[in-house]
């Protein structure tokens, strides 16, 4: 069997009394686009920094391509990093920045320049080689950082919230470009983000971090459709949980249950309650949020609890949906979309 690109075993890191990473086991496959998703302070960046070698684990081991690198310095690991704020060398030109890793490895000058130009072309920055980082826009700097990390063809590329500083339009464009680039070069990408949408759209697999531990690892669909814990259910997508008494009344069983908002239909109160394979609940619309392409209904259920339902604006307009506020409605969804979440 082929060794995985990265294997973490019971990885821990404490800073003084606080434990940033509290036992992480993880295997990342070769050529995978892997995301580490979690709120700030969940330990995902610390794990990334330990893989890069900037931090030494308190305990546990890190393997890269089957080799234990736990105690190795960053320059002894076949891993390059794209930093959150790019970390371009301000006193070097774009080309010198990109060629830096080649220069360090004493690649002859002609080859160095040729490869730097090729790398810049890959990120669509041909002709920018002579500029200084300060003369570039945020999106262009982002690409230089990518080219600089990719030019040496590392076996693993680490990306630490690389799109965090970009505005929404640019971010969406870069998401697509990054994914395409990863497919093209075939390098394992480990992508750290707190943006669940970003993680879901780009990744082959996602690990959800919470308080220094991994709550769930899976494909975007698994994470979204089958959240393993209440935290995953609430952090990925909109939190929509039925618990305790309310769950017992609506679903006939207690515990914590998650239903995704877009799975729930908003119907008239008088609609048929007994459709085959469906769950249903009656309540009052507490709030209506018009989102343009869709509308979000916040419904207080008669049996207690509150559910959010998302409806496409197929036939409705902003005025129509506003009229729903305070009205009585029936919510209905397929039973298979109710996911029991272990507490």
């Amino acid at each position: 069997m082929e060794a995985s690109a990265i294997r973490l075993r019971d990885l821990r890191k404490s800073f003084g009394d606080t434990s940033a990473v509290a036992g992480v086991d993880l295997e990342i496959r070769d050529g995978e686009f892997f995301s580490m998703l979690g709120p700030s302070g969940s330990g995902k960046t610390t794990v990334l920094r330990m893989i890069a070698g900037f931090e030494t684990p308190t305990s546990g081991t890190i393997e890269l391509a089957g080799q234990d690198v736990t105690r190795r310095a960053p320059f002894e690991r076949d891993v390059h990093t794209v930093f959150q704020d790019y970390a371009l060398f301000p006193h070097m030109s774009v080309e010198q920045n990109v060629a830096y890793s080649l220069k360090v490895r004493r690649v002859p000058k002609a080859e160095r320049l040729a490869r730097a130009r090729k790398a810049l072309a890959e990120v669509r920055l041909d002709g920018y080689g002579g500029r200084r980082p300060a003369q570039l826009s945020g999106g262009q700097r982002q690409r230089v950082a990518l080219a600089r990390a990719l030019v040496g063809r590392p076996s693993v590329l680490l990306l630490d919230e690389p799109l965090g500083a970009l505005d929404l339009k640019l971010r969406e464009q870069m998401q697509i470009e990054l994914k395409a680039l990863q497919r093209e070069v075939g390098i394992t990408f480990v992508f750290v983000t707190h943006d669940q949408e970003e993680a879901l759209t780009m990744s082959d697999r996602v690990a959800v971090f919470h308080q220094g531990r991994i709550e769930q690892v899976g494909t975007p669909a698994e994470i979204y459709e089958r959240p393993a814990t209440a935290f995953v259910a609430s952090f990925v997508g909109t939190s929509n949980l039925l618990t305790g008494e309310a769950a017992l009344r609506v679903l006939g069983e207690s515990g914590t249950h998650s239903i995704r908002p877009e799975k729930i239909q908003v119907l008239k109160e008088t609609a048929d309650p007994d459709e085959e394979g469906h769950a249903t609940a009656v309540g009052t619309v507490a709030e209506v949020v018009y989102l343009g392409d869709a509308t979000r209904f916040l419904v207080d259920l008669d049996g207690g609890g509150r559910l959010t339902a998302l409806q496409q604006n197929l036939d409705t307009s902003a005025e129509d949906v506003a009229a729903y506020r305070g009205t009585r409605v029936r919510l209905r969804w397929q039973r298979r979309h109710t996911v029991h979440v272990p507490d």
Binding site: F89, Y100, V104
Partner: protein, 287 residues
């Protein structure tokens, strides 16, 4: 109150008037006292003195400069002065770098302000006290001799090396501070990035740390160089018979004021040239 409001309103509408009120006093100070006296210096350098009465004769002549360039002693003293200033600057840079590296990157962040204050404290002491302290250290049988004796050596005594040593001590804080600031502001992630891209510590130092700190070294050198070039007291106290430009200016002030003025223009010109050279390194923008 109403008057105050009205005045404030009037000033608000007239930005030029505001600027004029703000800058008139300091500009007058600068123009009259500083540039004015500099102009007098330049003009009087072209006058001469009556060799009999030592009275200044206000007749235009380039004799002083002619003498300056053709007299071997003057040439020697100018070269010696520039040499001392360069040596002091080089020594300061060599000594300041490790100190600044420690205070800015090795020491605990909570201790750093205290260390900076410690570096600055010598500047609070009187210049003369410090120079006389060095005179004691370097005197025959003084601290320097006593420390070097077990090694079979003796101290440098008074002279050119003692002058360079004392000036280096005096101006060192002016070199440490800009380097400290530059090193402290050096982002950690640039060092991480360099290591990440395969560079060992030595390569990171040469390719990232040094080029980014160099403008600040140049900025510090502007202080150490010009302060050393203008000094004439230290050399009198620890320099033995050594003469620098300042001493010649001082010696000529009573008897031949125009010659003193001509001599005094030399360091001005040298420092202007030095500033022009340093401007290329970006030092002036990091002052």
């Amino acid at each position: 109150m109403a008057l105050l409001t009205r005045t404030a309103g009037a000033l608000h509408r007239r930005p030029r008037l505001r600027l004029a009120l703000l800058l008139t006093a300091p500009l007058l100070w600068l123009a009259v006292l500083y540039l004015g006296s500099l102009a007098v210096l330049f003009v009087s350098a072209f006058w001469t003195t009556d060799s009999f009465t030592s009275e200044v004769v206000k007749v235009w002549s380039t004799d002083n400069f002619h003498e300056l360039f053709t007299t071997p002693v003057f040439r020697q003293v100018v070269l010696r002065s520039v040499g001392v200033a360069l040596a002091v600057t080089a020594l300061c840079a060599l000594l300041a770098f490790p100190v600044a590296f420690y205070t800015a990157r090795v020491a605990k962040p909570s201790r750093r302000p205290l260390l900076v204050v410690a570096i600055l404290t010598p500047l609070w002491a009187s210049y003369l006290v410090k120079v006389y302290a060095w005179r004691l250290i370097l005197s025959e049988g003084g601290l320097a001799d006593w420390l070097l004796k077990p090694l079979g050596l003796s101290g440098p005594g008074f002279g050119l090396p003692a002058t360079v040593l004392t000036l280096t001590y005096l101006w060192l804080p002016y070199m440490i501070l800009p380097i400290h600031t530059a090193l402290e502001q050096l982002p950690d992630n640039l060092l991480d990035a360099s290591a990440d891209l395969g560079a060992r510590a030595g390569r990171t130092f040469r390719s990232v740390v040094l080029p980014m700190v160099l403008p600040s070294v140049a900025a510090g050198s502007v202080f150490t160089f010009s302060l050393s070039l203008g000094d004439y007291i230290t050399v009198q106290i620890v320099g033995g018979k050594t003469q620098l430009i300042g001493n010649l200016v001082y010696a000529n002030i009573e008897l031949n004021l125009p010659m003193a003025a001509a001599l005094a223009t030399v360091p001005v010109v040298v420092i202007v040239l030095y500033l022009l050279a340093m401007r290329r390194t970006g030092a002036l923008s990091s002052l």
